[in-house]
């Protein structure tokens, strides 16, 4: 038996300025200097750390914003002078999908590589759009996996990329007609994708490659960024190759295990040229997630292509163009998956889904909806301190957002240290991996391959609402708006 897959996480505190949720401790006049708040009330030494920082600018700034809003100091202050408030800078981060809470938990996971554990019950909204309207199942009594993640049995998270024919075909004289299987196995149902918007600097790609090697998965990089890879890193690369790049990256294509092609009218011909360089290469086609995706996949499948990356927008929705609102991955992917199942093609095709995969639970739920694996993009930037401010960046002379550059960007992707960035990516993926195992363990499923399309082991809000509340009279919310 091969060694168990293990992700080597190591503490790697962020080098960027963190933004805490509760930061503004409002001291007012009249303080009697009893120091109760500092010495007695604060369990987390927030006051002490802040005063150390005030005296010594070299003291680590990361200890600021540690306040948990237990309100002990506020309620215990001798003169009732103290107030805590929510940090407006915290609320400013991200957008309605990439919420401040998601950004903060991603930072914490990238710091330590550990699963976020906390006290008190669930604190968020009852349900929401997209992934927030799915609950995964659990198995109460009878289950194959013992002890969840703390047990003796191994829960596999490896997935195969490439076609798995349902049957082998032979000639009458017994010669096998089916071409030999060329499965690309990676140990994590995640590949590390390019940022969804233009980023400054090639260092980020270098960090992604290093992280992919450590994680035994693949890093998607632009062909121009692939040239910096060391020979031993080539198997962990998935360069995105265009017609013009082919002549320049023959070496890379010979060493790599996967190449990605952008969808276009000539993609099948291009695939042929790439395969001529390296016959073993797995070729994936990137295409936008849209209502036409299933048809396009079937068309390309007829042309001999088997691996597809469906790219949703950053909120996990279909790309319809013109700012229109598409369906969420949850619905769009279930349609694609269902069409392929009906055609009997599902096992011949590998679906990778990307865009809007912000949390470990999104990975598990995308797989339940029919993906074989996911590609993670923005979350990797968030691990480096990105606040998903995106459109807020100033533009350069050509009108491009100056994302990632120097002082404008907390993630500083143009000058980021490669080892630091790679370790934080590994930590984040390590935490996601452990969370995936928690979910699989609770479901009693021993490998992630079996999770694909398992909608029967998930609870969909639309269905359960109908089942539970279908017989209850409905009233528009506006009628009782408080």
């Amino acid at each position: 038996m091969p060694d168990r897959y293990h992700i080597h996480t190591a503490a790697m505190p962020g080098w960027f300025r963190r933004i805490g949720k509760f930061a503004n401790v409002d001291w007012r006049e009249d303080c009697s200097r009893c120091s109760n708040c500092v010495k007695l009330r604060c369990l987390y030494d927030v006051y002490r750390h802040e005063s150390a920082f005030n005296r010594d600018p070299l003291a680590p700034g990361a200890t600021l914003d540690e306040c948990k809003a237990c309100l002990s100091c506020v309620q215990g202050c001798t003169k009732g002078l103290l107030d805590v408030s929510i940090n407006p800078e915290f609320l400013d981060m991200g957008d309605e999908y990439w919420t401040p809470a998601i950004i903060l938990t991603t930072w914490n996971q990238a710091d330590t590589g550990r699963i976020p554990v906390s006290g008190a019950g669930y604190r968020g909204r009852f349900h929401g759009p997209g992934f927030d309207s799915i609950w995964t199942d659990m198995s109460e009594i009878v289950r194959p996996t013992r002890d969840g993640i703390h047990g003796r049995e191994y829960i596999s998270t490896s997935v195969d990329i490439g076609p798995k024919p349902l049957r082998l075909e032979f000639t009458p004289d017994g010669r096998m007609l089916t071409p030999p299987l060329r499965l690309l196995e990676i140990q994590l149902p995640i590949i590390l994708d390019m940022p969804a918007w233009r980023e400054q600097g090639a260092r980020l790609a270098a960090a992604r490659i290093a992280a992919a090697k450590e994680l035994k998965t693949l890093a998607v990089v632009r062909a121009g960024e692939a040239v910096q890879a060391l020979p031993k890193q080539l198997p962990f690369l998935a360069p995105v190759v265009a017609e013009a790049d082919i002549d320049n990256c023959e070496d890379i294509l010979e060493g790599a295990r996967m190449a990605q092609l952008l969808d276009g009218p000539d993609v099948a011909a291009l695939a042929g040229r790439v395969r001529a360089i390296n016959e073993q290469l797995t070729i994936a086609v990137r295409l936008p997630l849209s209502p036409a995706a299933a048809d396009r996949i079937l068309e390309l499948n007829r042309a001999g292509l088997r691996v597809f990356q469906l790219c949703a927008d950053q909120h996990g929705r279909e790309r319809l163009g013109h700012g229109k609102r598409g369906r969420h991955i949850k619905d769009a992917l279930r349609e694609v998956h269902g069409r392929l199942v009906k055609k009997g093609l599902r096992d011949e095709i590998t679906l990778i889904v990307s865009g809007g995969i912000a949390l470990a639970e999104h990975m598990a739920k995308a797989i339940i909806c029919g993906a074989d694996l996911v590609a993670v993009d923005t979350a990797l930037l968030v691990a480096l301190g990105c606040r998903v401010c995106r459109d807020a960046h100033p533009r350069d002379a050509e009108g491009q957002a100056m994302c990632g550059s120097g002082e404008l960007c907390p993630a500083e992707t143009d000058s980021v240290d490669r080892a630091y960035a790679a370790q934080r990516m590994v930590n984040l993926m390590g935490a996601w991996h452990s969370q995936l195992i928690e979910v699989l363990g609770a479901m009693g499923i021993r490998e992630v391959r079996r999770l694909r399309g398992e909608v029967g082991r998930a609870i969909f809000m639309e269905d359960i609402e109908k089942e539970a509340f279908g017989d209850i009279c409905r009233v528009p919310r506006s009628q009782v708006s408080a």
């Binding site: 107030d83 554990v117 909204r125 089942e467 017989d471």
Partner: protein
């Protein structure tokens, strides 16, 4: 076993000796009784926290007009004082009063007073447990009365489940049913044994009892406060999986011994001394994962009770290693019933898609009580991914199970108890209307004891407010008498709200409400719009 009383510091001040209650024959220990009466139990911190903050500027001339103007007791000047005291602003009802001509703000000749939202209160709570719900629970625990109207005390802002369900009498446009005639005694009690198997009946006076919280996850004062309030209200509390503390013995008749997968501290004696034994298969907040007690909170006293090594994180296994089938499950229940021939058996499960089948299986295995714990329930420590994503919320599970048990013809032979995110008296009523017989609460009791839901229970010294911590210094922030009274008061307030609602529904007993979804309505959402995000 060494007596753990020696290892846990005695509470200060010591309880006065309690009158004994008649023996039920289960316990070998004299049983205590606790008075069921409302006594004021104000916030235990120096500065009580309110929704609004009242500022008095330096231009105050201490004329005392505000003390005459305020009907809520915010301003006071005790006899012999030259100055008006610092405003008790947690009592202020805010703009509803401050914007009138009779308010302290308007009447102050020096214009020295201002009222503003309290920024610290904004930091409390979350969509499920909103700031208002926390403050309303505090008010109820302090006074024994439902919260005043400036606090939303029935629902949170989670946008679904209980927060989208309303009784028709709360919504304009529905004709109210005839009210119960004034003076009718409204019964909120519940019988727990419907099997007719010759085992004793247990009656509780409220359709609510306390959830399992282990010694280790919470302090001994929290555990004993819950137990004493349960005695006062003739209801129940549960040990959780941390073992049976010696100091619980005077309350044996109102304690449920929990047998969880870790079997921490479970022994024959602890099964024999109680009237109900609960099998915990799973917990709603971390279904399928088993209990977590992180190493920091496994102090020597906790470790001794659990017969474990101090400082080690304790992860209960999941599931029971001896249960692979419903037959094995029956074997477990038979074992408990054999050890204690007079006890009732409760089975606590979480809410997978096949929760209805699990419930039926448990009934046929011999359970008296089926306790469903929904996925949004409380916990001392759980992975965030499990709290939000695994298994369904209780609002979905209760009607599913209720209907299935009814279709199987066994609904009246089993008691269905629900828990997991039941926060208010109205949540209790809605759960029962959806099909449960009664509920188990946990977090609302913690909030009554002063929890602000900062979610820091799990590690380090534990709860900074001394509720969910066995740290000897932190737990002393709360006395046992105060904790008991807060919970007794909370039950008074809840019962008042339940009785009021039942009288509006024209029902003389809480048992009439079970499964009456026709008295509910569901708020449907208006369409949410979003656009494609450019990459």
């Amino acid at each position: 076993m060494s007596t753990s009383t020696a290892t846990v510091p005695a509470p200060v001040p010591v309880c006065p000796p309690e009158p004994e209650s008649p023996s039920t024959g289960y316990s070998d220990w004299p049983q205590a009784s606790v008075a069921r009466e409302i006594l004021p139990a104000p916030d235990r911190y120096r500065n009580a926290l309110g929704k609004y903050k009242v500022d008095r500027s330096a231009s105050c001339a201490s004329c005392g007009r505000c003390t005459e103007a305020c009907r809520y007791g915010v301003h006071s000047r005790p006899a012999g004082y030259a100055f008006v005291l610092r405003p008790a602003d947690h009592l202020c009802i805010g703009p509803a009063c401050a914007e009138t001509a009779e308010s302290c703000v308007s009447l102050c000749p020096q214009k020295a007073l201002t009222v503003r939202p309290n920024p610290s209160a904004e930091c409390m709570g979350d969509p499920r447990w909103s700031r208002d719900l926390i403050l309303a629970t505090w008010h109820a625990a302090a006074t024994g009365r439902p919260a005043p109207p400036h606090l939303e005390s029935r629902t949170g802002h989670s946008g679904g489940g209980f927060d989208s369900l309303r009784f028709k009498f709360e919504v304009p446009g529905f004709e109210p049913p005839p009210r119960v005639p004034p003076g009718t005694e409204i019964d909120t009690g519940l019988d727990l044994n419907h099997r007719g198997d010759g085992r004793p009946q247990i009656h509780i006076d409220l359709p609510v009892y306390g959830g399992g919280m282990s010694f280790g996850s919470v302090s001994i004062h929290t555990i004993l406060g819950k137990a004493r309030a349960a005695v006062a209200w003739n209801t129940l509390t549960c040990t959780g999986e941390g073992g049976y503390h010696d100091r619980l013995k005077p309350y044996d008749d109102h304690v449920i011994t929990q047998v969880a997968t870790g079997l921490f501290g479970v022994r024959e004696d602890t099964i024999q001394r109680v009237r109900i034994v609960e099998f915990k298969y799973a917990q709603g907040a971390k279904p399928g994962l088993g209990g977590h007690l992180l190493g920091d909170k496994n102090t020597p006293a906790v470790a001794r009770m659990r017969e474990a090594v101090a400082g080690n994180a304790l992860f209960s296994p999941f599931p029971f290693h001896s249960v692979y089938s419903v037959e094995d499950h029956k074997k477990h229940l038979d074992w408990i019933k054999e050890v204690n021939p007079r006890c009732l058996v409760s089975v606590k499960v979480s809410t997978p898609t096949d929760v209805d089948m699990v419930a039926v299986g448990s009934y046929f295995a011999g359970a008296h009580i089926i306790h469903l714990d929904g996925s949004y329930g409380g916990t001392g420590a759980a992975p965030d991914i499990a709290k939000k994503n695994i298994a369904m919320p209780i609002e979905y599970a209760v009607p599913k199970v209720h209907k299935f048990l009814a279709a199987e013809g066994i609904r009246d032979k089993v008691t269905l108890i629900a828990s997991g995110g039941i926060r208010t008296a109205y949540d209790v009523l809605k759960t029962i209307a959806l099909g449960a017989d009664g509920v188990v609460v946990g977090t609302s009791e913690m909030v009554a004891l002063g929890c602000v839901r900062c979610a820091c229970c799990e590690s380090g010294r534990g709860c900074p407010r001394g509720i969910a911590s066995t740290d000897p210094e932190l737990m002393m922030q709360m006395t046992l008498e105060w904790a008991t009274q807060r919970l007794i008061n909370l039950n008074f307030a809840w019962r008042e709200e339940m009785v009021d609602a039942l009288s509006r529904l024209g029902m003389a007993s809480i048992r009439e409400l079970r499964g009456r979804t026709d008295v509910l309505c569901y708020l449907s959402d208006d369409a949410v719009s979003a656009t494609e995000v450019s990459s």
